[in-house]
Amino acid sequence: MDFFQVIIELAQSTVRLSTPLILAALAGLFTERAGVFDIGLEGKMLGAAFAAGTVSYLTQSVAMGLSAAILISVLLSLVHGYASITQRGSQIVSGVAINFVVAGATVILGQAWFGQGGRTPALSDSGRFGTIRLPFADAVRDVPILGPIYSGLLSGHSPLTWLAFLMVPVSWWILYRTRFGLRLRAVGENPSAVDTAGISVLWLRYRAVICCGILCGIAGAYLSLAANAGFTKGMTAGKGYIALAALIFAKWRPKNILFACLLFGFLDAFAIRYQGYAFLLIGKVPVQLMQALPYILTVILLAGFIGKAIPPKAGGVPYVKER
């Protein structure tokens, strides 16, 4: 097959696969930059995907579905916030707890409401994000090089994919160019400095956690409203953990997150595409090796090129003023 065409197709697959990762990793960026670690990304995404699937089915409106996803995800974030910010509990334990509760609750509620074992009914097109076909996509398809890029790579994505990619510079802008971002980054490094500057550490961290909830909500909605047409139990399938890995891989920087997620997406797309493919010289490799390839390559890249990732200094520890 035309080599260039393959590249375009791989790239498009990469974009789709990395969309939820980008959103979830940016979500993690906001809380972790504020000093609240979050391994509950998985659970929040799952809860949001469920809410989106349910509400979108009931109302036949994607907007309602998306809002519900965000709402649920923010609520879960607030639980995490309450436990780890107000009650100064262990952030990791709280995240694990949320993953458990959501994994169970989505199935129970889904079964109770729809009787399909935790699945939500399949959504019709009106209950789902369609894809955006860019103008003239079909007309320019045959233009060499640029045509396929425009119509094959850029066109045909869900609005949430555009949103995800847009959120990268937006998140960067919020973190580095606004007062909120300045304070947020400061509270993740040295909460006492923020406190003595007359800013409430708690409220700031809560807002960071809410930002996380919003982005995780969009990530979840992407899964059930754009990538799929409805919710299936456990449909995050570990994406929250991969997003967390991407966040660390990216050393907690927005631009790097984009690259890390695209990399993970690409490795996945590559492994999918070349499963069972007879490679030159090597021949067919076992399916399992192809499936492990993204993870193996990640480890190699991490060891070879990335170097030390230094987390926000105050990350993981509750802010305690008086011992």
Binding site: Q91, V93, A97, Q111, L244, L289, P318, V320
Partner: protein, 377 residues
């Protein structure tokens, strides 16, 4: 982790507060049960009775406890050195290779008590091996242990899938599992232990690896608080700069710690493989590695806390199964919610009732310990 409030007497700190937290966790779970339209009291009865009501039930509870002690200890050991090992799942999975190889090779020829030590060594060796690489990468290349251990969980799953398919599975068998081990590969149950208490273990797979888990817990306590190595691990965990100053070799300690952690996780494989199924199956770890994180943190990374925390989860697993046997409208997913709530209230929200309890207790006892600001040097 620093305790943000005044010091309480030990009975309150380690007895009352956890109990209150648990009570609240179960109260909230009771609400969930109520929502499903079942009686929370009855569910509570089945939970407790199902976990402890009979020798057999206790046997099952302790069977799960055994698993969680191993994975909990694995997380805790790494934690003391400042490493967050979320790779227990993969390390336990790979540890299964060691147990399986030992059993496949010797189950015909050796009695269990000779094979067990070989299997322990095999489990620990393979588990340690799987942790060695992330440990080495962290020590030498600065690769973040959280990412590498996540990745190694996935890689372990692929590797085991391949091995079970292509190496271990007898030809013509449907399931991805090894053949069933002969007598040498089957650990004896602890019926004598239960008999001491006048109980019978029945069919529960409560086996000798429970004792190994207790020994491991004691060993971890000795290691962390009574050996030079443990001292160095803790120094490293609290302050890498102080460790360097003290002449502690950073990479060496990180690698050794990860290997011990992985070895403990690997030993978890003994319990299901040699103690229950007598063969290695696909995905036999079934999330125990992740539960280990909660167990370790709720047990404050101390064996004396990890054992009760593991027991708590053992109880949730076994009692939860009984609930869903007895109350068909409460499914296994409901049990997952209850587990989550317990982790949330007894783990993450453990300080919620501390101020109130402190006030009550300090209010009751005369305020004699009003200490003056410490006198200067």
């Amino acid at each position: 982790m620093s305790v943000p409030y005044a010091k309480l007497p030990a009975w309150a700190e380690y007895g009352l507060i956890p109990l209150v937290n648990l009570a609240v966790a179960f109260l909230i779970s009771g609400l969930v049960v109520l929502i499903v339209g079942e009686s929370p009291l009855q569910a509570a009865y089945h939970m407790v009775n199902g976990a402890f009501g009979r020798g057999e039930y206790i046997g099952f509870t302790l069977y799960y406890t055994t698993t969680f002690i191993f994975t909990g200890l694995a997380v805790a050991v790494a934690f003391h050195c400042g490493l967050f090992n979320i790779g227990g799942e993969g390390q336990a999975y790979i540890g299964g290779i060691g147990v399986t190889l030992a059993c496949l090779a010797f189950d015909h020829t050796l009695p269990w008590y000779l094979l067990f030590p070989i299997a322990i060594a095999g489990a620990a060796f393979f588990g340690a091996l799987w942790a060695l690489i992330p440990g080495w990468l962290q020590a030498k290349r600065g690769s973040h242990i959280v990412i590498t251990t996540i990745m190694f969980n996935f890689i372990a799953a692929s590797l085991m899938n391949y091995l079970l398919n292509k190496v271990f599975k007898p030809l013509g068998s449907m399931s991805l599992e090894t053949r069933t081990f002969e007598a040498g590969g089957q650990l004896p149950k602890l019926d004598w232990l239960m008999n001491i208490f006048g109980l019978s273990v029945g069919t529960a797979p409560f086996n000798i690896s429970f004792l190994l888990a207790l020994v491991a817990a004691f060993g971890v306590w000795v290691l962390i608080w009574r050996t030079k190595l443990g001292y160095e691990m803790r120094t490293m965990g609290h302050s890498p700069a102080a460790a360097r100053y003290a002449g502690i070799k950073e990479s060496r300690i990180i690698i050794i710690t990860m290997m011990i952690s992985g070895g403990l996780a690997g030993m978890m494989a003994l319990n299901p493989i040699m103690g229950e199924q007598f063969r290695m199956q696909l995905d036999f770890v079934q999330g125990a590695g992740f539960v280990g994180i909660a167990v370790a943190l709720m047990g404050r990374s101390h064996p004396a806390g990890i054992i009760p925390a593991a027991l708590l989860f053992g109880m949730l697993y076994q009692g939860g199964a009984e609930i869903s046997f007895e109350m068909p409208s409460i499914s296994r997913d409901m049990i997952v919610i209850i587990q989550g709530l317990v982790i949330l209230f007894a783990g993450a929200l453990e300080h919620m009732f501390r101020p109130a309890i402190t006030r009550i207790i300090l209010g009751l006892s005369p305020k004699t310990r009003d200490v003056a600001a410490t006198k200067g040097a």
